[in-house]
Symmetry: C2
Subunit: 426 residues, 2 copies
């Protein structure tokens, strides 16, 4: 159940189960998934019926957790009971202009319809631009994985891009405000080219973007204490900056380690392996008796080192990869916060000057009231966003650390296993 603002007058046609609404009226959304461009709504008099979805601006509800000393985290977004998710898979090469231009199309399947839709990278990019324009003031929208022109059809690259698009889509799906937006739903569930084109055009003409997005948010809660919010905001600002440094540091050492493992270290173990095997071959030519145990041991040691060389070189893709991908995602996400926080701070500053501006006759008392209400919504949504970030962060890093440590243990067991084979032979 979410409230919606009526943005145009609409007169019901009798007998069609429609509801007459007037601009400025607030209605309650009963069913947003009626289809065919209709929403089922109820007005304040208890009458219900269908209204064209373009005539309504559905608010996003914030939910404020009850205060209990241990669990209190402040405002959180209203999360859907079954979270949206999607699978990006099956990249296929397509071409147009008689084969002069070729591209890769990815299949995107949401868990709601279970019906795959196709999208090229540039569609993802279009979606990113829309989300950034619409939500950028309130919600950090991380960049898409880098564009890269050369070697675009190289298998490895396509797989990597797909993985990253998957990661990006998952993150967007997990956000209750973003995932519930028309443009995001269009991207995931359009039924044919016509619906896609129409939806695109409508999304591009969407006027509820930037700071306007706050007007669609209804915190259902009293106004907040600005000083407390400012302190929280300051804390969060410092936290994201420090986490940004920490993440970049980890990415940096991770990259260096990755390169060392796949480069010099791999070659070095190979060389050690070769040196042992070479000595074994030389010893075999001695013509002396009683040499077999020794040359077997040398050969085994040599082979073990060659195995270690391979294991070491393949290891980063097994453990570091996921750790790096997650940190890369967070690096992108953290890069968005300064802007979001900046918008927030500027708004608080404005409210602070409200009294002066009223005194100077620059704004009316009513304007000041509206501003205060707006800033309160912004504060709620920033806090909800902070909490969203933290809970996601803990979830993501828990997962990545668990996988990482498991892979590490597997690694050392593999290496040791190899060693043991060497030693048994011995």
């Amino acid at each position: 159940v979410a409230p919606a603002q009526v943005i145009y007058d609409f007169s019901a046609e009798p007998g069609n189960n429609e509801l007459t609404v007037r601009e400025g009226e607030t209605v309650t959304v009963l069913n947003q998934n009626v289809g065919g461009g209709w929403i089922e709504a109820q007005n304040s008099r208890g009458e219900s019926g269908l209204v064209p979805e373009d005539y309504l601006q559905v608010s996003v509800c914030l939910f404020i957790t009850d205060y209990t000393p241990k669990q209190y985290v402040g405002p959180v977004w209203l999360y859907p009971q079954s979270p949206l998710d999607c699978v990006v898979a099956d990249p296929k090469k397509g071409s147009k202009m008689y084969g002069l231009k070729s591209y890769i199309e990815y299949q995107v399947t949401p868990n709601t319809t279970n019906r795959p839709v196709n999208h090229r990278y540039k569609h993802f990019d279009w979606l990113y631009e829309r989300l950034l324009e619409k939500f950028g003031s309130a919600i950090p929208i991380p960049s898409l994985p880098d564009k890269q022109v050369t070697g675009r059809f190289e298998e490895e690259f396509i797989k990597m891009r797909m993985e990253r698009l998957q990661g990006w889509m998952c993150r967007m799906c997990r956000h209750p405000v973003v995932s519930n937006s028309d443009v995001f739903q269009l991207f995931l569930t359009y039924r044919d080219e016509k619906e896609w084109k129409t939806g695109k055009r409508r999304a591009e003409k969407d006027e509820c973007v930037g700071p306007m997005v706050f007007s669609t948010i209804d915190p259902e809660a009293p106004e907040l204490d600005i000083i407390e919010v400012e302190q929280k905001c300051e804390l969060f600002s410092r936290f994201t900056k420090e986490m940004d440094d920490g993440v970049k540091d980890l990415l940096n050492v991770g990259n260096i380690h990755w390169k060392r493992c796949t480069g010099p270290l791999r070659k070095e173990y190979q060389k050690i392996g070769k040196a042992f095997q070479n000595l074994s071959s030389v010893f075999n030519t001695s013509g002396y008796t009683g040499e077999a145990t020794l040359t077997d041991a040398l050969t085994a040691a040599g082979k073990t080192y060659e195995e270690i060389s391979q294991i070491v070189a393949e290891q980063p893709r097994k453990d570091l990869h996921f750790l790096m991908e997650t940190n890369n995602e967070y690096k992108g996400l953290l890069g968005c916060f300064p802007d979001t926080i900046g918008v927030h701070k500027a708004a608080i500053e404005k409210v602070r000057e409200g009294d002066k501006m009223v005194a100077a006759g620059k704004i009316t008392t009513q304007d000041k009231g509206t501003m205060a209400k707006r800033i309160s919504i912004m504060c709620y949504s920033l806090q909800a966003e902070m909490n969203h970030f933290h809970s996601n962060r803990i979830y993501d890093y828990n997962r990545v650390m668990q996988l990482y440590l498991e892979e590490q243990i597997r690694f050392y067991e593999t290496v040791r296993g190899g060693k043991r084979v060497g030693s048994i032979k011995w």
Copy 2:
């Protein structure tokens, strides 16, 4: 029981249990350890008694193994039943010239007398020069560990030098010809400064050096087929050259790996550890609930990496060290063979030209016979030396490989152990 050549006439004093001998006579040594400069000998008539040791040149016996298809290795040195060994330990700083000059004295204790004697590095060097001069034509005498002037009293350096002197002494002790020589025995068993000085002077005046040493070797066997010996020699020459390459290669990659482990790799693991711990600290400041498991895991991962960093840095000293030391010793030893083999080849060439030289009247038929006998002894001793080298090589490398692989397994178990701690905490 070894034969000895009488080199000066000696007339026994009656009632003193002495034996009269004439220059050129061959006697059998009954007891070389009578002491006081005497040897108990028996002449061909069965009479026995004491002869001054300076009047006799005791031969070294070669022993020829019986031919059995699987075990036949050809001539070997006559090895003592209880092999000589010694311990180099307890380096002490001494000084002379009123403290203006200081030096390190090592305690050397042979397993025969169990009585420690003191020697400075320059005494070892003196011994090396004597052994090289006396046996260099027949037996490869590896160089002493490098001299190094700067930081000579640095603890680490002294320990390293002691270890290497120990290795060198062990190798010399293991050689039945070298270890049985007067000069080597003097070095290990002198009782006082006077005995040491006298022995030194005598050793420096020893005329049985260089090719002359072959005259003290009695193969107790028929002359050898020169073509067969030449082939064996060629094979051994190629073997030592190839082993030299192999050993140098292993030393090279070993050194690179050592440097990487103690340098960049150590630092890298440290940095990874710090990055994890840093992220953990940042997360701890979030003020969000339910963070503890994650920050514990991050801290544990960070600490594990710091432990790995230390383990990795300390590893070379545990496993590579002994492998490198042994290969370094062999590098030195292998460097001596070209000379030894060169002497051998030149001698064979001379015998080849024997007939021509007799025809040209340059040498007599008797000279040629003596030469042939001499070359036969050289061949026997080279083969004995080859076999000595091979059996020592197999023994040394078996030992070093076993230790190396054991340490390697211990290493990976330690690292994995660390990982497991991290994972249990998790």
